[in-house]
Point group: C2
Chain length 126, copies 2
Amino acid sequence: MIDKKQRCCDKPYKSEKFLKICLLTLLYDKADHGYSLIEELEEYGFEKEELSVSTLYRNLRKMEKEGLVKSSWKKGEGGPQKRVYTITEKSKNDLSEYINFIRYRKSVMKRLIDTYEEKIFKREAN
Amino acid sequence: MIDKKQRCCDKPYKSEKFLKICLLTLLYDKADHGYSLIEELEEYGFEKEELSVSTLYRNLRKMEKEGLVKSSWKKGEGGPQKRVYTITEKSKNDLSEYINFIRYRKSVMKRLIDTYEEKIFKREAN
DNA sequence: TTATACTATATGCATCATGAATATAGTTGA
DNA sequence: TCAACTATATTCATGATGCATATAGTATAA
């Protein structure tokens, strides 16, 4: 049984939690900065309309406060400075549990889809 | 391509949207009242710690305002009155699109899990 | 009969997260 | 010099949440 109270964000249904796990996965094998992460997040459904830049930057700062990531400034190559984030050893170890939580959430979605399809099937049988 | 701006709740990442789709699916083939829905929601990960009663009741009232469901009072059988909710024809028709949205969200979660597993594999290969 | 527990719904309040807008600032090209 | 792009952060209003509380009917045990 998966412990749904696993840390990262207390409330598993908050969009915030999914965003954090996406960010930790992206940062798992490389350091990166906010503006670049915005583009990479699109692959996980965070298009411009779904995620505002302010929310992303705020969540990154919060994740650092919580000890999930660390940051340092990097001189801009033809542009302003970048705050580059690195995953901490702790999150790197905890990430497998966070991913288990995503597996659980995915299975719940499957259950909902299956229930819907059964109901449609029964309706059409009449 | 699935229209992610499909109605029910504007912000697809809000937990609220998933709750609403669960409720519409539960109400698809039967009328039901709030207190009973609380138990049925547990199957979709909404345990007591994940969903407060106030949030559920408030969301149901809001869904009625939005025309997703209708309600009527039913005399209590050994207890107080129950507000019984019924799905509207409109939501019944729209539900297949809402479920498509859940399919999309599920596929995004699969993508995240796959990415994580690839990264773990590469790490272990070194 | 009084108190407690359970069912059932609703609301006030403080808190928290969000988006939009704005501020700041460095660089590049017209 | 002005606009456009990169990059981060903050203010402000709004909106959703949980907790606590209110209300109310029924059942049951002390």
